[in-house]
Symmetry: D2
Subunit: 349 residues, 4 copies
Amino acid sequence: MAFSVAVAGASGYAGGELLRILASHPELEVRTVTAHANAGERLLRVHPHLASYADLVLEPTTADVLRGHDVVFLALPHGASGAISAELGEETLVIDCGADHRLEREEDWAEYYGGDFFGTWAYGLPELELSGAETKQRTNLERISRIAVPGCNVTAITLALAPALHRGLVQPADLTAVLAVGPSGAGKKAAVSLLGSELMGSANPYAVTGGHRHNPEVRQNLRRAGGADVTLAFTPVLVPMARGILATTTARLSDGVDAAQLRAAYEESYGAERFVQLLPDGEWPRTGDVTGSNRASIGIGVDERAGRLVAVAAIDNLGKGTAGAAVQSANIALGLEESLGLPLDGVAP
Amino acid sequence: MAFSVAVAGASGYAGGELLRILASHPELEVRTVTAHANAGERLLRVHPHLASYADLVLEPTTADVLRGHDVVFLALPHGASGAISAELGEETLVIDCGADHRLEREEDWAEYYGGDFFGTWAYGLPELELSGAETKQRTNLERISRIAVPGCNVTAITLALAPALHRGLVQPADLTAVLAVGPSGAGKKAAVSLLGSELMGSANPYAVTGGHRHNPEVRQNLRRAGGADVTLAFTPVLVPMARGILATTTARLSDGVDAAQLRAAYEESYGAERFVQLLPDGEWPRTGDVTGSNRASIGIGVDERAGRLVAVAAIDNLGKGTAGAAVQSANIALGLEESLGLPLDGVAP
Amino acid sequence: MAFSVAVAGASGYAGGELLRILASHPELEVRTVTAHANAGERLLRVHPHLASYADLVLEPTTADVLRGHDVVFLALPHGASGAISAELGEETLVIDCGADHRLEREEDWAEYYGGDFFGTWAYGLPELELSGAETKQRTNLERISRIAVPGCNVTAITLALAPALHRGLVQPADLTAVLAVGPSGAGKKAAVSLLGSELMGSANPYAVTGGHRHNPEVRQNLRRAGGADVTLAFTPVLVPMARGILATTTARLSDGVDAAQLRAAYEESYGAERFVQLLPDGEWPRTGDVTGSNRASIGIGVDERAGRLVAVAAIDNLGKGTAGAAVQSANIALGLEESLGLPLDGVAP
Amino acid sequence: MAFSVAVAGASGYAGGELLRILASHPELEVRTVTAHANAGERLLRVHPHLASYADLVLEPTTADVLRGHDVVFLALPHGASGAISAELGEETLVIDCGADHRLEREEDWAEYYGGDFFGTWAYGLPELELSGAETKQRTNLERISRIAVPGCNVTAITLALAPALHRGLVQPADLTAVLAVGPSGAGKKAAVSLLGSELMGSANPYAVTGGHRHNPEVRQNLRRAGGADVTLAFTPVLVPMARGILATTTARLSDGVDAAQLRAAYEESYGAERFVQLLPDGEWPRTGDVTGSNRASIGIGVDERAGRLVAVAAIDNLGKGTAGAAVQSANIALGLEESLGLPLDGVAP
């Protein structure tokens, strides 16, 4: 018998992608969708692409509406999930796609987000190797009732750099990451800077010099993977594609490390992972190849002259970057096959 | 009286942009356009956007056709300009938009291009500060009859990093640059990897780990600016816009350097430059804002946690990246006002 | 037990989309993929998005390689499928995504394609209502071993206009259709006119004034639906999106016909169709909402001043326009549930 | 001595394009720019592409600020220009880029816009041939102090169809027009439907079945050109490019009319027009080729089977569609050379 599901914040892009994935999930059954401004509307009017949900109507986002489902996915603005999840009992699996429960250190929350801090939940990146541990983060998600889904940019950078840091093959100081990102990651909010006219034909950097809210989260991940604090210069650049993140990351090689060692490390990390694909030597990922999928595609190489590892990761910000990760984590927590209902192939061209 | 001009390789994108700029240049008059496969065709059929040139027909690219003009712009595949320019006397100003005469070191040519090396010409980046010199590169272009136009990616990275290197404010080791680039820089050649279907909706890295041909040239520039060899990890990423380069560069700060010193340095370098615009603190350039112009727009800041300068430069790869730089250099060599005929404003949105 | 499947022409865009859909089809199992120039390569190298097929290698496209499968999908250039399918026995279901077997009249073939004519196969548009028949085209596909998949533009125009023509609510003379189309419909061929640089930022018409090869096929469909020859002015326009067709069609109303009659007609035609969605009054389809799906989304209305029906249809040219239609038809022919394995929701935004 | 200019509504896209064109106009000198919400900001902050205007600050849009200039360009929301222009004397040339003064019939205004009607001004489409007149609309703009600039979609459709209607070569009934349009025509307003995420990868129709506000205006033009009321089914489709309009129009041929007659007619209409380019037989315009220019590019042909003229026009909605037309009209009214300061070549690719 399927688990009953509610999606809160269903009118946004993350909510829409959750529903798209869940429509073909054999064990999760969407019963309830909620929204704020769009409450009362037919879901299909808000998301005309979701023909599977012809009969659903958006309800208001309240604990009363969400209560009683086996699984509740939250796709709410940051700051909104703490209060509402407190009203849902531990018998409900709550998967938060927002930022509220990702950070371990309250001072990071205060600096980058502000407002009340509602504590840290299990972090929904199963493939993350942990310093000093035998097992990956996956283990920490089993039979858990609260999961925080990683930020999309964070997932891309983490998957690109963690294997090398975990094994000490690169130095934790002096990491760099530049991300080409599609605007759907910024949400479905009316803002001049996100207009098609402003974005088409242009590459637009933002939150340069460390101001992006995903900054403390990615440093936290890399610290957990490698066991040491890292320094990272991280710059996101909006480019004219609706979806996708291409993270181009670099790290200084530790003394004596060569390309073969690095390749062996990444193969060890990801060889058995269904949703992280390590490309052969000389091939590099493209975001178009992961559109609509829960796959991260990663290429690595050494720039000999620069003495740096270059690791490039492509994900769909709404897929492996948000909704796919949420469903993957839910599968683990519920004891289901981890890959259930999750698309592996991208929609290309 | 105007100078007579021929454009060789006029059927490509660089040739087209040269013609577009020259159409409104008061002192340069296009008399002859040449091409290889398209010889014999009306120019307007090859470049339907160039309505100004309704009567021109493409002639074959030979020295006989090019000889006798005051100025010859070459927009040819690499390896093609050495032989043809040898047949043009020193009374003709030859501006080469290709790579043949950019590199100082023959071993760099052999490693990245191969084939005969035809020697180094004066380098067409007037704004470049030179280590140990009182004057900028501009001075070296006056009354010269042979000029090599910089590579487009090279110009973006050089303008972003040179002022800091020139003054020792950042370390020459451990530079990084990731570029979001439009495909017009790759030329008008039929290749599956450049199809609209492959590019739209995707970010596609290429020539990762140091293989891009612009690599030795940018290191050469930064060496000339700073006086020391540099190490640089440089990765270009094709993004879905026809034109534009956004170079996101980083460099480790030298000891004790702060943001104010850096800003003062860039103001010193670029304050009087018409075609290099330094944005105020906290503002960052967008490629859409320089489309069609000869302007480079640069934003700088310090990522305090990472201990790095972040300098972002936006140019139009066909404008300041190629055709604009060619005309600007020609103006200098001919003793004309440097900015003559060159667009300053971008075509946005 | 699943049916064994071969896909010929698997290296192109249509072949890739067939494979993407078939990867999650519970009863069709891809055993063999073939190509021409790419024979011998790993499929994953040609289609990096198809991670499901990590082990497949492209074989040459020959009858020997294709023989012995239960189902063979052909995604070949026109003119290539006649000979090869003649070598496959009637025990093999052959689904031709090319044009070779669509046209009823040999003179249409001679005029628009030329070369040998290999005869007409059952036409793979199940939803098409037929003049003078009780049943739709679906019935003609049951237990058939040869099916011709419609052209992508043809499907969009046909679905938009057929219900009104079938019932005589609009006049067969004086139909118009303008299509906004993505370049993937033109295939994965290296041509300057299909370069990203030529397409991004531009809307480019082609095959204006009736020259498009889909022209006789769409007139054939509308004749079959309405019982009379039609006249149609049909213009395709390439627009900057990799996938998608938006067909804006108009037709003169027959005397006395009003909007309510038209809506009733379309509801009758499509109310029970899973893959044709009729939008409510005042809503119009967007191609982004059907990307990656097998759904056609249709909006209709009456322009009172103009005295015309306006019917707008959105499909994914590779989905309902090609690969989805192929699988849907195969399902019918094999006696499977018609919708098996076919995506209903689009990948948006 | 140059004429002094103010641009009201300078913060929007039309205002920005006016300023970009005026920056290189030898006889018009921008002294004042005004805005509503952005009043008090540096212009360069609102339009980072307009480096020419480094020192200008936006002032509030009031008659007091605008008074005293030789020319005032209004780029305001509809309904706003009537009151403000009433306060500017006849010694000021007022060019209204908005809709307020375009329509001749008050009932059209009431039906499509509503609110007070402020009367009809001279219509700024110099190339329009007028039924029963020896001269084009150009003549009506000489020494005039009030000019209404046409709507962008209107200009495209009018230029495509007017020559044929003017000579009776096509029938005024049963015209059709489908437009592929970029979103900059909808202005710089924050709306979810105009977000990059909603537009990229999608073709989105709107205002189908005659609801677009440009509808009465285009019928008015065609009536003025041909001398009879027309019926027109007109559908705009948003496509993923920031700028550009491609109007694909069709019209039923009058009895006995052939392609040669039509070509002769269009040559007669446009042969001497600098800013309307008639393409040779078999060539069709692309919007990318007119980007940033004041040129309309037009291709015509006959679809013999359909019995229809197909006339396709490409313009830049902000160029010939708005700001270019405004400056062209101002040049005429001021007695300057009509083409002064107006770009002819497009920025392509």
